[in-house]
Symmetry: C2
Subunit: 351 residues, 2 copies
Amino acid sequence: MVEPIRIAVLGTGQMGAGIARLVLDKPGMSLVGAYARRPERVGADLARVVGLERDPGLAIHGDLAQMVRDGRPQVAIQATCSRLDEALPEIAVLLQHGVNVISIAEQMAWPAATSPAAARQLHRLAAAHGVSVVGTGINPGFVLDLLVIALSGVCLDVASISATRVNDLSPYGRTVLDSQGVGLTPEQFRRGLEEGVVVGHYGFTESIHMIAAALGWEIEHIEQTREPIIATVPRETPRVRVDPGAVAGCHHRAVAYRDGRPVITLDHPQQVAPEAEGTVTGDCIEIRGTPDVRFAGSPEIPGGQGTIALAVNMVPRVLAAAPGLYTMADLPVPAAIPGEARRGSRESAGS
Amino acid sequence: MVEPIRIAVLGTGQMGAGIARLVLDKPGMSLVGAYARRPERVGADLARVVGLERDPGLAIHGDLAQMVRDGRPQVAIQATCSRLDEALPEIAVLLQHGVNVISIAEQMAWPAATSPAAARQLHRLAAAHGVSVVGTGINPGFVLDLLVIALSGVCLDVASISATRVNDLSPYGRTVLDSQGVGLTPEQFRRGLEEGVVVGHYGFTESIHMIAAALGWEIEHIEQTREPIIATVPRETPRVRVDPGAVAGCHHRAVAYRDGRPVITLDHPQQVAPEAEGTVTGDCIEIRGTPDVRFAGSPEIPGGQGTIALAVNMVPRVLAAAPGLYTMADLPVPAAIPGEARRGSRESAGS
């Protein structure tokens, strides 16, 4: 029998918990370590804190190096942050200990967009320790970049690209809702943008760089706009109620220019309860070229599940890669990894 | 300046001509050789025979080894056949001469489906000569396999997969139309199936193996059905006229079973002038799992252009790969390669 792949998870929020749960569901994987930044979680029992049905019998570590020494993971999945500067110290420790890394930090999807020097350093560090590191997630990392690139592969030439992801923020917690200005007045939204509290989507720059690099395009500049989505009817979710006139979300758009022309347009309006106003959610990729290509799905691929799945499904790709820093476009596509236990229970419940 | 990649094309039919044309359109590539099986084409001028706007000044070779010695290609694109047994001798010569190979022979998408021994031999031969070989094309190679696999990557688990490609055969020549029984009576269609003249789609076994291998599924058996699509109104294309009651095409379906249950269903009804009866063409992928995923595009990605584009766009992937035999799921996704000249002419014609 093949030994299960030893996995550690960093982060015990919604994403970290989902990743831990999925790893435990895969017979080919073994959860051997958990790490949290929040001091109050350190030392606590992982299964109890995040509510796991299967108990791996792991205490949450607050010392990353110690977690690695105790659990000896082959791959660590980082779900602690969005920003590169926050992600780097943890990733550096992991790489130095010979652990492959999959990060769902948005800026890790294309680290050079934030800091070319940091990207070079990551590559050197990974190569020096014989391991690999990749950033992934539903977006950036899949819908608005990897899928776009793959679809461009059927084109003789490409003139321009538009891709839109209309999603529903209702399943998300306060941190995400705040970052989109949900519940604010339009005036508060404007101020929030100026103060950097309302940020919209993290990841357009990363997606655009990934697409442009794959297509050999030199991008001159990127224009980004963030507009409030104002509710015209009451919108309610388990976590928030938005009255008419208040902000239900943020329509974030990025347009990338090449030779003075807009060539990549990415739209990502994020809001709570879009169905309350008849807004249909979904993902849509349109390539103008030879031939024109349009691929779409509705509703949108769920962001939380999609990101958790991608993080876990990339494990074999990262293990198979030569040492170094990768983006999603540099590795073979992920595939769903069989979860025998779950399938078994489904079968007995079904036919 | 970087030297252009030296490319040779095998085949001077519609596909070979399209590949030659596209290579000539890419500033990063140079067409250095052409080979044809048809004796009457040997020695003829490539540009004249296949109608190229840009003349690479190449005579068509009938001796593959000589073509390689003369042109010294780094990559050869094979567009001479569909079957593995026909593809192998040419590929073997190329690999032995240290030339990387991209084949659009349908059975090369997953050679082990036809012959595991041949697949092993291809891998050994490629590895021994330090080059790589991959089979690609719109289908098999992209729509009903690579895209399916990529989309499964966002799933926590997958219960079953359905994918459908409804296409229009009108642009195709007599060989393709005959293989789908276009123009036959229903009785002739049945007899054509028995005699192996009507074959339907080449590639379901390949696509199913590719998906199953990526998802770690063991397939017990594959059931295939080929039904005539009977015209109820006249259908006309530049090449053929189908009267009501005659066969307008072939609806080919494959169902793969795992643990006694159908888990992969691929549908590919191919016909001329589907719009004559209100049939909408398109590609659609549906994954039942967590989450369910559905992605679709209409009309279908054009098969001819798509296959030509994929063959050329995979050139950098094959060059970057470690020596050996690959499938589309083993390599990073293709991306459209910039064709500066064409873009330039578009710009001057446009804004």
